[in-house]
Symmetry: C3
Subunit: 348 residues, 3 copies
């Protein structure tokens, strides 16, 4: 069960070319390609004739031509040519999915196309902006997206999973302030006068204690925005002070199947000291940390698969993930009852 009437990341804009790309979202096989005129398109990856995958086909001026018997479908999914047949019967088409190219990403809408409103795309304008050196990456996960969401919503794990990268011994006791809004939750956390994590220490070149902050938004169902940073210990709100390290992280989860997930991440940074190579080192640190998460979470998925009846025991630090799971359940119920829209607002 997935929330369908939302925008998910389908890929990086540069991945979409004249060569078709097959990718599965929410259990549906989709072919992504760029038309001759440059528009990014997402169609059902199944020719309506004999069910050959369109992704084996070729992009031509009028659309994509199936490699099997040569039928051509335009960017709206309508069949425009049937070799050996003059007339195209009504309804000869494949499903097309709303696809928007924005901030170097492709955003796809797997739900009711009539409800797709590009204003509801989460704002990631920092991605690749000139004053924000940006690292990014992709991880294919053998786990349901909610297990990854759980991970991102309980930073206790940083202390135990990410010893050499993101660890901060203060996390388990630094409970965040949690507030809900229509489209998700916000978590704010400040840890004053602490040792910088290995990653913040390296990226900020701090030889001192720091005040650490993160200001997080969980956009339902599966986008995590984390404006985090450190600044030498001092007075006032740490994120507003000069000389700080700023990391504008996004984890963008797109369910592939019930057991697998596309994990896209962005890491736009501002460093207190100029260093052209620093962004690459930060990217490597994030990739290392996220490989540690995957190691645990895929093992956790296997355990869950073996014991589907067992009940997890909630602990105090599950507050945020529990709230998000509850809100997702509510969204799913609303969709199941045919609710026409899911309330979405950019104002976090």
């Amino acid at each position: 069960m997935f929330v369908k009437n939302v925008w998910y990341v389908a890929g990086n804009a540069v991945e979409c070319t004249h060569t078709p790309l097959a990718r599965t979202f929410l259990n549906e096989k989709v072919v992504l390609f760029r038309t001759a005129s440059g528009t990014a398109v997402a169609l059902e990856d199944r020719c309506c004739h004999r069910f050959a995958p369109l992704s084996l086909g070729d992009v031509e001026d009028r659309g994509i031509r199936c490699r099997y018997h040569g039928m051509v479908f335009d960017q709206g999914g309508q069949c425009v040519e049937i070799p050996g047949q003059d007339q195209i019967p009504p309804g000869t088409c494949v499903k097309s999915f709303p696809l928007v190219e924005r901030h170097n990403l492709l955003w796809i809408w797997m739900g009711d196309p009539a409800l797709a409103n590009p204003d509801d795309i989460v704002d990631v304008h920092w991605n690749g902006a000139t004053d924000w050196p940006t690292a990014s990456g992709y991880i294919h996960y053998k786990a349901n997206y909610q297990l990854i969401a759980d991970n991102l919503l309980d930073f206790t794990h940083l202390t135990f999973v990410h010893r050499t990268t993101l660890a901060n011994n203060a996390f388990p006791n630094a409970r965040p302030e949690i507030t809900s809004f229509e489209r998700g939750i916000k978590l704010n956390r400040v840890i004053r006068d602490c040792d910088p994590s290995p990653l913040h220490g390296m990226a900020g070149k701090f030889n001192c204690k720091v005040d650490f902050w993160n200001r997080q938004v969980w956009w339902l169902p599966s986008i995590f925005e984390n404006w985090a940073g450190s600044v030498p210990t001092g007075d006032g709100e740490p994120h507003e002070r000069e000389g700080g390290l700023h990391l504008r992280h996004f984890s963008l989860l797109t369910p592939e199947t019930e057991q697998t997930t596309h994990y896209f991440w962005l890491q736009p940074c501002q460093f207190p000291h100029e260093d052209a190579e620093m962004i690459e080192r930060v990217g490597q640190g994030i990739a290392t940390a996220f490989a540690e998460d995957r190691w645990i979470i895929e093992a956790q998925q296997e355990v869950i698969n073996r014991s589907p009846e067992a009940k997890m025991r909630a602990m105090r630090n599950d507050a945020a993930l529990g709230r998000v799971r509850f809100m997702i359940e509510r969204l799913l119920e609303q969709e199941a009852q045919g609710a026409r829209t899911i309330p979405i607002t950019q104002v976090a």
Copy 2:
């Protein structure tokens, strides 16, 4: 569901030796071996005692000896020795399958043995005949045999799948004449004054336009005979004229499981110009073309598996495959109702 009361190809005759060979047909595991006196035998590949596969055993004078506890079964499947036990209880046997060696192939009957009549074996006498240089091959397919049948019954795909081998731009519009007979359908097709396909051009050394023909028989449920050829453009029936290239192709499909198929093919040829190496080049061309088909068809099978409810949309060029699918359904119904024989005739 498979038609059972017909002869299927079990292998090439040379594959059957004193070393047992395990192979699955119509979901049943079979062991093939040649007795000391040279007879090719097919038995159920499961010792009736503790279900060890007989194909792990050894061929001896009296039959095949199970490698586990040493029971011996003769070529009729009857147990003739039980180590440690003097008496052989009645009914101690394994199933045996009628097996006929003909035209360098082994033909197996998986249905009711009482109905097995070797006269009903499709005639492939061109295979290895002295005046027919013959290429041949085997492909293991991860797809149901009917998807391969569909492919062979709609030559539209040649234009799109086999660009570098069998392609002929005229195929989509060169609708064949289709006639039914008791045991299948016949398709005749003539394309006059066309460019030779890459394969025909090479094999016939044509530097001119040609008249192309194919005279095909689909023998239910899964044998495809295709007498095809090209001859320089002229008057009269192309297949009757001097100086033509003649290809007597057979695609012999034997279901392994619902999702896999044994694909044997034969390609006896007569070339207009003598060239001892040409048969090898033709064989390579066929192997290349059939690998292209497999690439599409196995992908198609995966799509079908993911969307078992979806309905394909028939196009005009599906006429032949639709008719064959209908006839196979009827055969299956007849077998299910206990019909004693399936009408078979060699007169196409």
Copy 3:
């Protein structure tokens, strides 16, 4: 379905260290580790919080710490620390399994802990005793443990499976004397004045005919004790005579899943001639023979999986395995009906 209220071998004692070891028994995932003070412990391999495997964690002074969110469980499975939370809610624990270290093995009890009595562990005190040079090994089997039991309970197979190691042509006709006792069956077999098997010939350095014996106990459900040997042909009970070769073999089967088994084996020996390297050669011989068994048995399991409805046909040499299968069925029924204890006695 497995008999649960018995002791199974969980591993060799040396395998259990401060680094957690994940292993599955009777479909349950277990983590094995040694505490700081040296006690071997077996816990459910699933943190009760978010179901991460505890085997990814670290052993500390107070127990094992989950690698995900840092909860600590002591050797009884009780949670003793929750990072970020002062109070530990009642019932925060994981299952612990009785585990006994004896005769260089770890013995685990997967059933009702209240019934676990270490007196019921099968005596393997020969294992590594100073006057019994001992070879040993482990095999992971892709087969249900009962198929391996069947193999060990019908020595007819030695003639056909183990031609180069354990074969003795007399086996199929040398029917053992079989007697039952509360916890299993005993098989005694003497073959007088026979050629020694390749293994006995090598290990005993016999250049003559021998009297062969084996005195076997099958401890329900899955431990095979086989005191076997050979001695030059003579009068009286062969196992009581001077100058014989004595092999105190144990095959210890622990079900992993319905389709897989842990197979531990011990081979304590006494040789008639001193030869420091002989034990290694015997170990290699056993390993070779057991690989031959696995080849057959895993193939047998695959055949069974493909034909779950088919019925095996019993032969005369199935007497012992048939009796054991019947006794296991009875044990399972008794456990299902809540019988409090399974009768166990060391007196064979």
